[in-house]
Structures are given as C-alpha cells and as structure tokens.
Amino acid sequence: MIAFWDVLHAIFAMLLLGAVTHQGLSVWRKPAPARAFIDRFRAVNGPGYANAVVVLYLVTFALGCYIYPPYVLDVKSSLFAAGLSGQVGLFQIKEHVAVVALALLPVYWHYWRTVPLTEDTGIRRFVTTVIMVAVWWNLVVGHILNNTKGLV
C-alpha cells in the first residue's frame, strides 16, 4: 500500500514540476513573440500558476510527510547498514530543501497575487526560481533514493 502513496507522491511531484517549471522559466523570459516549442513553454501567464503551484506543493509535501516514516524505518536504515550514508545525507538535505520552499510559499504567493506585477519583480523572480530549483532537486534526489531502495 505504501508503494501506492509513493507513486502518488511522484505523480503530484511531476505535476508540480510542470507547473513550477513553466512559471519559473517564464519569469526569466524577455517579452517577445513565441515561435519555438521551448519559447511557447516559457511564454506562459505567470500569475495564473501561483495558486496551482501552492496547492500542488502542499499536496506533494503532505504525501511526502506521510511516506516519510516508512522511509526512516525501511530505507534509511538499510542504506545506512549498507554504508551508503552519502545517499542518506542527500535525503536529509532533501528534507531541508523541502522546508526552504515551504517557508517561501506564503511570500511567493504574496508577490504573485497581492503585489502588482510591475513591482518587486526581482524578489518575485528569485523566490519563484528558488522554489523551482528546490522542486527539481527534491524530485531528482527522491528518484535516486527510490532507485537505490524503494518503499515496499
């Protein structure tokens, strides 16, 4: 059953990755007509993603919290016993990276939905980029650990 929650966590992470990457790349794009595929990928309406990113992040985070105890009992101890403490360390950092993005979520939402888009563009761009990079890091690290030892 835990495998179901693990795959669900991965699917929500994927949806989150799509939304936050669309938005994260759009904040660095200079206004210009979008022809190529990667241009259209970035030429999205940034504010429209804020709510989706917040909701998807919270759901993904909650699912992660739910499957974290079995990870501690089953995966962490096995990796530690197998001398793979480096990978355990990677996952520990994933915890903190997840909290970095969680902590930034309210201020991220604030700068997208409350503050006029013409103001504070720098901090809005930075916060969005940090959350995007955090989601990418956690997805890759999560997959590396899951490949090393899954939740069964």
Binding site: A3, Y49, H143, I144, N147, T148, K149, G150
Partner: protein, 153 residues
C-alpha cells in the same frame, strides 16, 4: 551510470507526459476551457504544436529505456522471479511491448498531425493520440512501481 540514465529516462518521461497530456486534453475538449483555472489552462493549448515535441521526446525516451533495459534484465527481472513477484514482472513485459507498439504508432501519430494532406483525418488523429497517451501513462506508472520495488544498480 545506469542510475544517471534511469533518472534521465524518468525526467524525459516527465516532459513527454506533460506534452502528450496537454495535447490529449486539448484534443478531446468538448466544452470551451474555463479560463484562469489550472485545468482550463492545461487544456487551453494549441494541440498541434506538441506533435514534434512528443515524437522527439518519445524517441529519446525509448532509446534511453532500451539502453537501461539490459540492466533491468540482469538485475531486476531475476530478483522479481526469485521473489515470486510475477505480476510485477508481467507488468514490465507489457511496458516493453507497449513501448514498441508506441514506436510503431509514432509515424502515424506524427503524420496525422503534421502532413497537410491528412488534416481532414481528425477522428483518426484523436484516437492515435489517445492510444499513444495511454502507452505513455501506462509505461510511466509501471516504470515507477517497478523502480520502487527494485532499482537499477
């Protein structure tokens, strides 16, 4: 090395699933998409513009999968059989076959979208795209479940 290839295979699959899901939702949309909602934006795209991306991403992902398939055959399949996890092993077999059938469907898929002469085949285009989307989603889920059971070294 196969971990790097596997993660890359997974990330390309994420991009592929994003593109084909955008396309299928836009293609099968019956009512106009409600603007400014997440689901509305997901469907409110120009479906045709995804064909090249889907075809290229599928080919790349198939190639990556074919490369790491050898590691799977050596490491994971024997583990599944020894552990009597036959449903998992059988599921991965279907993934293998569906990936191949998807490869065979790719020319039809691409041409139904791109060839000007075939623009009037909208029904075929819808079903070919839906079938390819099914292959991609099925393989993505089975791949995740299998990787969770036993990873590549």
């Amino acid at each position: 090395m196969s971990t790097v290839l596997l993660i890359t295979h997974g990330l390309v699959a994420v991009a592929l699933i994003g593109a084909i899901t955008h396309q299928v939702l836009a293609l099968w949309r019956t009512a106009p998409a409600t603007p400014n909602t997440f689901f509305g934006r997901l469907r409110n795209v120009r479906a045709g513009s995804y064909a090249d991306a889907v075809a290229i991403l599928y080919a790349i992902d198939f190639l990556l999968g074919a490369i790491i398939y050898a590691s799977y055959r050596l490491e994971v399949r024997p583990y599944l059989e020894n552990a009597d996890l036959y449903i998992a092993a059988g599921s991965f077999e279907t993934k293998e076959h569906l990936a191949a059938l998807g490869l065979g469907l790719l020319p039809a898929y691409w041409l139904f979208w791109k060839a000007p002469a075939l623009t009037n085949h909208s029904t075929e285009r819808k079903y070919v795209t839906l079938l390819l989307a099914f292959y991609i989603w099925w393989n993505f889920l089975v791949g995740h479940v299998l990787n969770n059971i036993h990873g590549l070294p």
